[in-house]
């Protein structure tokens, strides 16, 4: 392809037609790969070539316009270049406008960040196009602040829209922000609410970052919205968009390098200048005193071996501990602290004494609040609670599960109850002997604590392990050491942990509504039940638990919260792994068949990626089961 430099009057439209036809047939890469760099170079300084280029794209027939525009936006090396190539195409051509302002931003989300930068930068570079930029921002914000969008669109799309919003904001000038300040504020408030309501931490973080950025832009003076969250690569990248200046928008190399270049240039360097006067280096004492007669030598030191760190003594008896913790005087905060730190080991050393007062102790610990600033208070309290629960499981489990549904507890306390139940169940079912011997299965998969919402990742590992354990492998010898087996203490109490939790989930009380607002706790409850189910393998109650769990899952299977759905799918996994095959066959075939068709639906239609993966996993497990059943000679 070589263009004729001279001949200003030659008709471009033929070329446009060719270009359009090629693009629509899917050959964008080939033709534009050559064309775009050429044109970029040629249009850099030459106005005539610019006009030629504009004519070229304007003449592409409407039915092929989308493919061409898409190709150009994707391939242009920068917003500047795109501006030179397309000119005001988006203003003049309705189809192009639709593609650029609607389709690429709201209906698609697979484009790379560099493409977004190109697109939005392009819109910002010309006054005629800036009105479009504002309109784009408004529509993006509408989507961002709509609660149904937040609930039902995949997290990847939400990330894409957030990025687009931030890039738009970085391009806006003061007067423009002024004109739409009120709208920005309203959308921000609405959007923040929907985002924070979500159970997925990624969505919450997106909401927080975008809201902070909007607040920064509209409040140039005065206090700015600031959230507390853990910074990670994603949040840092998002924030870097806001900090960039329009002139540094030119992308000339691979996007990753460029991003870091921009962040380095644009982010302000914070220099801490704390003036500490006269902190001169210490003068070495040795040199001075060498010459002098040391009269200190005639002072003979006394024995100082008793001089050790001062430690407040913790009480030695459990009942004393109870007294200290409930003491109204509580003048002796040192003793209180020492008690908290010693409680876990004390409980484990005195099981008989603890059994006498177990429920009382559990009650005290559940309501215990931090009086002084100890490091790791939450962990200490939790460890003590787990110790009490494992020492006297049945009454304490009864107490805790009943409190889970009682009035007037905070959400945090209810979730603490769930965490404690899980940890205790884990300990009871695979007892660790303080680091000396580690049972094979449990340690590999290290089920630590429940709390993270991305426990689904843990689950993937756990389920994978189980699957690995159950599939026969050839040519692999015994790779694990046989360890001394011990009775599974969880056997006798599994039911006590499980059934009370599952009983009342559909009965709302005044302060606690699992099926309503408190869907975060529901999500955690579902995950807890999944873990309890998993740990109940080989217990007597496992079949009854399985049946109850299946019913529970069936009732909630269409829940709108993706975290809850992930939990439900984990429940199915645990069920399939824990309940013995024969029992599944005997008691649950119909329910399982129904579940299978539901799983198929989830795989195809669920917007959340994790849910889909878990559903596929479950279907695989079911396949395995079927094979096993077929293998059994009946």
């Amino acid at each position: 392809l070589s263009f004729i430099p001279g001949g200003l009057d030659c008709s471009i439209s033929f070329v446009s037609h060719v270009l359009g036809k090629v693009c629509i047939h899917g050959r964008q890469k080939e033709i534009l790969g050559v064309l775009v760099p050429h044109l970029t170079d040629l249009t850099k300084s030459d106005c005539i070539w610019q006009r030629i280029c504009w004519r070229l794209v304007e003449c592409v027939p409407d039915r092929w316009m989308e493919a061409v525009v898409l190709g150009f936006v994707q391939r242009a090396p920068g917003a500047d270049a795109l501006s030179r190539l397309l000119g005001n195409l988006v203003v003049k051509n309705k189809k192009a406008q639709f593609v650029v302002t609607q389709k690429m931003l709201l209906l698609q989300y697979s484009h790379m960040t560099a493409v977004l930068q190109n697109l939005l930068g392009y819109l910002s570079l010309d006054n005629l196009r800036r009105t479009l930029l504002l309109r784009v921002l408004q529509e993006l914000l509408e989507t961002w602040s709509s609660s149904s969008a937040v609930k039902h669109s995949p997290p990847e799309q939400q990330l894409y829209i957030s990025k687009a919003i931030l890039i738009c904001l970085s391009h806006l000038k003061e007067p423009e922000i002024e004109s739409c300040r009120q709208e920005l504020l309203t959308s921000m408030m609405q959007g923040v609410k929907c985002h924070l309501d979500s159970s997925l931490p990624q969505v919450r973080r997106l909401g927080m970052v975008v809201a902070e950025s909007i607040s920064l832009k509209i409040n140039t003076e005065g206090p700015v919205l600031k959230f507390e969250y853990e910074e990670d690569d994603e949040t840092r990248e998002l924030k870097s968009f806001l900090a960039q200046t329009p002139s540094s928008c030119d992308v000339f190399s691979i996007p990753e390098d460029d991003r870091s270049e921009k962040t380095n240039a644009a982010l302000p360097v914070v220099s801490e200048s704390k003036e500490k006067p006269h902190t001169a280096a210490a003068v070495m004492p040795d040199e001075e005193l060498d010459a002098e007669l040391d009269s200190d030598d005639d002072l003979i030191p006394y024995d100082m071996s008793e001089d050790k760190e001062l430690k407040t003594k913790a009480p030695v008896y459990i009942r004393d501990c109870i007294e200290v913790l409930t003491g109204s005087g509580s003048e002796d905060l040192d003793k209180w602290e020492a008690t908290i730190k010693a409680l876990d080991s004390l409980v484990r050393k005195n099981p008989a004494a603890v059994r006498e007062v177990s429920v009382e102790l559990a009650k005290i610990l559940l309501h215990l609040e931090e009086k002084t600033c100890i490091e790791g208070f939450v962990e200490l309290r939790q460890r003590a609670q787990v110790a009490v629960l494992t020492t006297d499981p049945i009454p304490v489990a009864k107490y805790l599960t009943s409190q889970f549904y009682s009035l007037n507890y905070s959400l945090r306390q209810r979730m603490d109850i769930l965490d404690v139940l899980v940890l205790a169940a884990q300990e009871l079912s695979c007892p660790k002997f303080h680091g000396k011997t580690k049972p094979y299965g449990a340690q590999k998969t290290s089920i630590q604590l429940l709390p993270r919402s991305d426990s689904s990742k843990d689950w993937k590992r756990i389920v994978d392990e189980r699957i690995k354990g159950k599939t026969r492998r050839f040519n692999m010898g015994q790779s694990h050491v046989e360890l001394a087996s011990r009775p599974n203490k969880f056997n006798s109490v599994a039911g006590h942990f499980f059934f009370p939790l599952i009983q009342h989930f559909d009965r709302p009380s005044t302060t606690f509504d699992l099926l309503g607002e408190d869907h975060l706790v529901l999500g955690r409850l579902v995950h807890t039940l999944a873990i309890l189910m998993y740990l109940a393998v080989n217990t007597v109650a496992v079949t009854a638990m399985g049946k109850a769990l299946l019913e529970f899952v069936w009732a909630l299977r269409f829940h709108t919260d993706s975290y809850v759905r992930q939990g439900l799918l984990s429940c199915i996994s645990s069920l399939l792994l824990s309940v013995p095959v024969e029992r599944i066959l005997a008691d649950m075939t119909e329910e399982l068949l129904e579940t299978q068709s539901w799983l198929g639906d989830v795989v195809e239609k669920d917007p959340d990626g994790d849910c889909r993966r878990l559903a596929v996993q479950n279907l695989l497990l079911m396949e395995n089961l079927k094979k096993k059943l077929e293998a059994i000679p009946s």
Binding site: V283, P285, D298, Y302
Partner: protein, 328 residues
């Protein structure tokens, strides 16, 4: 084989409240009785007879508010006390009197002990924390005229002054003040000009107490953390860190260097009194008698060296008196 630490020579009981401050007056010639003054949390100042180990007089001048500083001015008949009633009282104790002759209303609500310096016969300078949070005021006694106010510059953020020490390079020269502040710095002030001469950050936590040896131009400060900081003053009158010493337990309430500059004593929050050699800060002894925080330590001013004593007052309401390294 090192000897176990000695026991207290005797213990004074009967204050009825935590002891916050101690001061000896034993320098007088015979037949003067050696005395120990103590200030307690119940507002009483007890005058202990060190021969009978009993209270001779109890002075009540601070409205039952804690007394946290007692000093004698010249001889045992002129006493100065500072209390939490925001007052500094001057007492005349001649011939058994127990009257407050004069008082200064400091408006200071903190715990900073004042510091006295004799500049001429019958004339004293006193440094005290004033009403404004970070200021130190210098008054002349007994006239109570203000000499100057030492105010840190704006933005210095030193916090409250925690401990003070007025001294002179040698007799007749300009008085200077060492002040330890809440932010952990020690500042050297020129009193007559009211300007800072030098500032040194010694600790990360508030400076709880300091003492200075004007002969060697070396000082020591203690804080609520585990570190003792020793610093020196060079010819240009700049403070420099000389050494630091790490303690076993955190928290020092009081530090005092013995008048012969051979040893020093620290009063610790861990109920222990520690003795160090002053030259190289060699740990010499750990005296573990008290059962609560030791608030103050004080060395006696006996003219006969062998009779020298160390006293410590504690929250457990007892005053322990020790005879340690008295032979050297």
């Amino acid at each position: 084989m090192a000897l176990p630490p000695p026991d207290p020579q005797f213990v004074l009981r009967g204050t009825g409240a935590a002891v916050h401050t101690l001061h000896f007056s034993c320098g007088g010639p015979e037949p003067d009785i050696p005395l120990l003054f103590s200030g307690s949390e119940n507002g009483f100042i007890h005058v202990w007879n060190l021969k009978t180990h009993r209270v001779d007089t109890a002075l009540d001048g601070h409205g039952r508010k804690s007394v946290y500083c007692v000093r004698t001015m010249g001889d045992k008949d002129r006493l100065l006390s500072q209390g939490r009633d925001q007052r500094i009282c001057l007492w005349d104790l001649t011939e058994g009197r127990t009257a407050v002759t004069d008082s200064v209303f400091t408006e200071h609500v903190g715990f900073c002990r004042c510091s006295l310096l004799k500049v001429a016969q019958g004339r004293w300078l006193m440094a005290m924390a004033a009403r404004s949070l970070d200021e130190v005021q210098i008054l002349e006694l007994p006239s109570k005229t203000s000499v100057c106010t030492l105010k840190p510059e704006v933005g210095a953020k030193l916090g409250m002054p925690m401990c003070l020490k007025l001294w002179q390079f040698n007799c007749g020269s300009q008085p200077v003040l060492l002040a330890g502040y809440e932010d952990g710095s020690v500042v050297l002030w020129n009193v007559s000009m009211g300007k800072t001469l030098s500032q040194l950050v010694c600790h990360q936590e508030p400076v709880m107490s300091l003492d200075f040896d004007s002969e060697k131009a070396k000082g020591i400060s203690g804080s609520s953390e585990k570190v003792l900081s020793i610093w020196s003053l060079n010819e240009q009158q700049n403070l420099q860190v000389y050494k630091t010493h790490e303690l076993v337990n955190a928290g020092i309430s009081d530090i005092t260097i013995r008048p012969d500059k051979k040893i020093l004593a620290t009063a610790g929050w861990d109920h222990r009194i520690r003795i160090f050699g002053w030259k190289k800060l060699k740990p010499l002894a750990v005296l573990d008698y008290h059962t609560a925080t030791v608030h103050c330590v004080s060395f006696s001013d006996h003219s006969n060296a062998r009779e020298r004593l160390l006293a410590a007052g504690s929250k457990d309401q007892r005053i322990s008196v020790w005879s340690i390294y008295a032979q050297t």
